[in-house]
């Protein structure tokens, strides 16, 4: 189950991580090595075993429906990369 360069680039795109084409091969090889090691799990018989998402299967803690937050927009936006009129700005999205 070796990862091709194309697959690596596909995964990088899904993860929104820019990887230059010339580095993709090395990344693919490294990831292949790692995944090959983990593939040992395939040999374990897990028939009928329910997946464990959470060690302590806690039932939900809930909170009452009440407004409890005092929101100071200027404080929360103090370290924002680009803000105008209270909006976070990103390069224009065509919709």
């Amino acid at each position: 189950m070796s990862l091709s360069t194309a697959e690596l680039l596909r995964v990088a795109r899904l993860a929104r991580l820019r990887i230059d084409e010339e580095d993709a091969g090395a990344h693919a090889a490294q990831l292949t090595g790692i995944l090959e090691h983990f593939a040992a799990m395939a040999a374990v018989d897990t028939t009928g075993v329910a997946p464990l998402a959470h060690a302590l299967e806690v039932t939900a803690v809930t909170r009452p429906d009440a407004v409890t937050e005092e929101i100071d927009r200027s404080q929360l936006q103090a370290d924002a990369p680009l803000v105008e009129d209270g909006y976070y700005l990103v390069p224009r999205v065509i919709e």
Binding site: R16, M41, V49, L52, A53, H54, L56, V90, V93
Partner: protein
């Protein structure tokens, strides 16, 4: 005694001395700040030191004490892993992504420690976003092991472990997702506790792998850890995964004798990976515990060998999701002049994250993606259940388990830099504990030459007091935990 000063080293002794008026919190805090300034450039255990804040907190504590309002932890200093949000003070996770980010709130752990009157010396270095076992993955440079400055302190809580070992702080906070408190504690010769999942609130503790992360104390003795647990543990309405428990005093069982306790020795931990000298230290520790009245029992954890693959698949998957929020939009690093949204995301993230973090995000994204989810992520969660079942079954016959924390002592800086897989294997004895959500503790045993060795105790759910009790009795008997690196004399 620490360095050239006349201050006791452990939290317990310092608390007594403060109560007896032997010195003030201001003096004690100044002592540590001076040592940090003088010596930390060689170790790099702190990302951010907070002298003004610390002195202000120390003064408040002294004033409270003068009014008769001091609590058990009033005025005692600690170092805070830079993964815990501290309002108004940078919290970086040792990443370029958050290099200048100030949290608008305190983590619950931080708030609890502040309310108890503790003094925060600063934020300690760590592996970026808690991913690593050597503290070489930090935007702020690697941390060095005070026992041998050419070697790693372990990770991800490497800064906290090194600071305590170098006597730059008496105690520190850490976090443990696959061994990140226990492994650096082992490599640095200190004591560290990963509590049961749900014991310590994760509000404000920046997430790596949400179902595995747990915050905990690190220090020179079990006694000190118990003091900290009294303040760190507790359910929190802001953390749905924190567990409501009846109130308990973690120091209350420390002095109890070990007679009748059944200590399991998992045979799978004595495998080909374990170095012979460490195996010998563990065997010696087992014999000591037997002398102290415990009974040794052979146990088996048949799926122990699958802990690393299951852990890395699950942790990477959760991490890839938890780190999606770092996109350059609302906070954190943003690339220069993004040409479109895709460029904003992919370049900000590629620039903001280091190599190991990117590697794990790629693995995590891969195992969750269409066509692979069943074979990888779901499979890993099934194996996780098998690992948990192994522990539950073993605990029917024993009260705790004893084994090594790591397969070898501290390796050299750069030794495993190009070999992530070998790096991952330092966690072979610790990751299963996180997958099962159990508590685990590492304490120093007999060293190998100059290099510390960690002994791991694994407890049943919510069995921290038993771990602390055993560690305390062992420490009283052997004194290995009092060994000091030459660096501590400086």
């Amino acid at each position: 005694m620490s360095g050239a000063g006349s201050f006791p080293e452990t939290l317990t002794e310092q608390a007594k001395a403060l109560a007896a008026g032997q010195f003030s919190s201001v003096e004690l805090t100044q002592h540590y700040l001076d040592r940090i300034k003088r010596l930390d450039p060689q170790v790099n255990s702190f990302i951010n030191v907070c002298p003004e804040l610390a002195m202000a907190q120390a003064l408040v504590a002294d004033t409270a004490r003068a009014r008769g309002e001091a609590g058990p932890l009033s005025g005692l200093p600690y170092a805070n892993k830079d993964i815990f949000c501290t309002a108004g003070i940078k919290t970086t996770c040792a990443s370029r992504m958050l290099a200048n980010w100030r949290a608008p709130y305190d983590a619950t752990v931080v708030r609890n420690l502040a309310q108890a009157g503790m003094v925060m010396l600063g934020k300690t270095n760590m592996d970026e976003f808690a991913m690593g076992s050597s503290n070489e993955n930090s935007w702020f440079g690697p941390v060095r092991n005070p026992w041998d400055l050419e070697r790693v302190p372990g990770g991800s809580s490497g800064g906290s472990a090194a600071a305590v070992a170098a006597r730059l702080a008496p105690v520190a906070t850490g976090t443990d997702t696959g061994g990140s408190i226990r492994q650096p504690a082992a490599l640095c010769g200190i004591t560290g506790l990963k509590p049961t999942y749900g014991r310590v609130s994760r509000w404000g503790m920046i997430a790596f792998a949400s179902s595995l992360d747990q915050g905990g104390p690190m220090g020179l003795s079990a006694e000190d850890l118990a003091m900290l647990m009294n303040v760190m543990a507790g359910s929190d309405p802001r953390d749905s995964t924190s567990v409501e428990r009846p109130p308990e005093d973690f120091t209350s069982q420390l002095a109890l004798p070990l007679s009748g306790l059944r200590i399991g020795l998992p045979r799978e931990f004595n495998d080909g990976n374990l170095s012979a000298p460490i195996a010998a230290s563990v065997a010696e520790a087992a014999a000591t515990l037997e002398q102290l009245g415990a009974k040794l029992v052979d146990v088996s954890l048949p799926h122990a060998g699958m802990a690393i693959p299951a852990y890395y698949v699950v942790a990477s998957a959760e991490a890839s999701s938890n780190l999606s929020r770092y996109d350059g939009v609302r906070f954190g690093h943003r690339c220069e002049a993004p040409k479109d949204l895709a460029d904003l995301y992919s370049r900000s993230r590629a620039e903001g994250f280091g190599a190991e973090v990117q590697r794990r995000i790629l693995v995590g994204t891969y195992v969750l993606s269409a066509g692979y989810y069943e074979a990888w992520y779901r499979k890993a969660q099934q194996v996780r259940r098998l690992i948990q079942t192994d522990y539950v079954r073993a605990f029917e016959n024993v009260d705790v388990m004893l084994g090594p924390t790591t397969p070898s002592t501290a390796f050299r800086l750069g030794e495993n830099a190009d070999d992530p897989l070998t790096m991952y294997l330092s966690d072979i004895y610790t990751t299963g504990v996180n997958l099962a959500g159990l508590p685990g503790l590492s304490m120093p045993g007999r060293a190998v030459g100059n290099l510390p060795v960690g002994l791991q105790l694994i407890g049943n759910y919510f069995g921290e007091q038993r771990l602390l009790q055993i560690a305390h009795q062992y420490q009283k008997q052997t004194g290995w935990h009092l060994a000091r690196p030459a660096f501590a004399e400086l």
